[in-house]
Symmetry: C2
Subunit: 353 residues, 2 copies
């Protein structure tokens, strides 16, 4: 276990740690006692048909969904829906390299097993069924790695997902995206302080985490974001100030092994694993009403990678979000971002199934 | 001086080392004896009006121009033109951190001074005038950092440049591009073997050079290059094989300090330095017939960054090259690349001035 104050209630507010018991993983590893960090909003109705599931993205937690996406003034309205945000395995909050103790002690740090997108979805399905008695979801929605999990849900459990909204992510990760994640991984693992994952504190890997932040600066935002100096709207007066005041502290607070657990899954996200590599067959299994929601300036999951997937989903629409931030538009910084998301999710939730 | 067999006639064929004497640099440094590595093709006519200048790009030398761009079957035809390819300062072949000896010994390795795009152009102008007696150029053409130097030539010496063809580069570097170069630099400088630039051999920095290659893999090619597996046309059967067989050996042969000298200049390329930051005024100085030639899939210098600059140049045209490789389409790997370049350069050279 690695002490890291970032992964705490102090920084993340309310969430519950719920054990789903032993989880056998696709790659052969086993998590003896898999705990999921879950934040819920609203109330499950008696029919148990008003549940919305939100899986989290790389480096992100329920926090950003709570602060930006969920509210009475949003489509994700807790007055109407029971919204369950489940932090992914390896997020730092759910069972992760940095918090593996007790029954999971053997999995601490670099000994944490490889976890796939599918493992997360299996864990979430068990949580929903056993803990909440939820058998169908009004909506699964997630961004980036959350979109990967959304697709996995819709393909793996088609009868349970009535609506799906993958935002800024793909069903099958592209090789270009794999290489981006690889460059991010190498920024961490190359730091001498990383010590093959056996560092004492994330502070030992601060140089690697800063380089990791700098690569995110390049791939996470669009070139227009930098050219138009959009960070000025966030009250930073130079790109250097924005890096030092936003992206660097964002990532240096995190656990490198946790980030590596997540990016390993990100690199290998692929619903065609269910169909012997046939992506059309996999996406053909989806029965959910699906809105594929890419961001037009996204370099990680560009529209041209998302659009062909949407065309393979029967009951689907392509809804492109306009945001100069690019992929990290997901942070909801642009005032024009959430109105678009609310419009699309609102339309989707209003669709009778 | 750092022994590096890559920067030699064995690997680069014929070129001449020509001293232009002492070069005082914009940032205040001085190169006591500035030698330029120059490869020429064809014959200078008596009127001395058939000269074409080619400045080199980051990590590239005259070699790629000789092997891909120049020939009797190309617009850059040595039967017709006297083509002078000048390797930039810090290229490893011209005076550079790795070869600073004799009068330049104090500049070896990390003690090499900061060199700007403008310093290169001043050095080239002196070379052409003093060594060849060339006062006007039929064409200046270069790719990437060579495009930066092409713009600098056209702005700084408008009377000397009849035609200009900046390929896949900008007159004013964008902040997004600055950050890309910064991530590349950090891949090198963060290697413990870099030792603040005082390594004994580039082999000591092989890990950093490999990471540097992996970031180039992400930014240098388009996502479609990887998705369409274009590397198969080069007889590599996986992206990993392409990295290991092409990009990694390409960069690991090079000198880290030389690459850092080049990228420092790349980051700061800006013709508006001549006009107090007024880009329109700077580009308004250009009298050359100019073809601005971006590559449509280029992530470093996208069309939308090149096109507004073209609009500020009086006698100019935008000629977009279609190449799925993106920026590294400059290598001329796609069979459809050189026919487009030859068409554009041929049209430009055929334009009466």
């Amino acid at each position: 276990m690695t002490e890291n104050p970032f992964y705490s209630h102090e920084f993340h507010g309310d969430y519950d740690l719920i054990s789903i018991g032993q989880l056998a993983l696709e790659e052969g590893g086993v998590i003896a006692d898999c705990e999921l960090a879950v934040a819920t909003f609203g109330t499950l109705n008696e029919a148990k048909d008003n549940a919305i599931l939100i899986p989290t993205w790389f480096s992100g937690t329920h926090q950003i969904w709570r602060d930006v996406y969920i509210g009475a003034d949003h489509a994700l309205n807790p007055d109407k829906y029971f919204i369950i945000c489940v932090n992914q395995i390896g997020s730092g909050l759910s069972t992760s390299p940095n918090n593996a103790t007790g029954a999971n002690a053997a999995l601490a740090g670099p000994r944490f097993p490889d976890v796939r997108i599918g493992d997360n979805v299996v864990a979430q399905e068990r949580l929903l069924r056993e803990h909440y008695g939820i058998e169908t979801l009004a909506l699964v929605v997630g961004g980036s790695m959350g979109a990967q999990q959304t697709y996995e849900w819709a393909v793996r459990f088609p009868d349970k997902v009535l609506r799906a909204a993958p935002i800024a992510g793909t069903a099958q990760n592209t090789p270009g995206d794999y290489l981006i994640a690889q460059a991010l991984r190498e920024a961490l693992t190359s730091d001498p302080g990383f010590s093959d994952g056996d560092y004492a504190s994330n502070a030992d890997v601060v140089d690697g985490l800063v380089r990791h932040a700098h690569i995110w600066a390049v791939v996470g935002f669009s070139t227009e974001f930098w050219k138009q100096e959009v960070y000025r709207a966030l009250e930073f007066d130079s790109k250097e100030a924005f890096l030092a005041g936003f992206l660097e502290p964002y990532f240096t607070a995190m656990d490198p092994n946790a980030l590596l657990t997540q990016s390993w899954a990100w690199q290998r996200g692929d619903v065609a694993r269910h169909t012997g590599g046939d992506l059309a067959a996999a996406l053909g299994r989806i029965t959910a009403k699906t809105f594929v929601i890419p961001i037009n300036e996204d370099q990680l999951f560009p529209v041209r990678d998302c659009s062909p997937e949407q065309e393979l989903i029967k009951n689907s629409e392509l809804r492109v979000v306009d945001d100069v931030l690019g992929h990290l538009g997901l942070f909801g910084v642009a005032p024009t971002y959430m109105p678009q998301i609310d419009q699309h999710l609102g339309d989707l939730l209003d669709t009778e199934i």
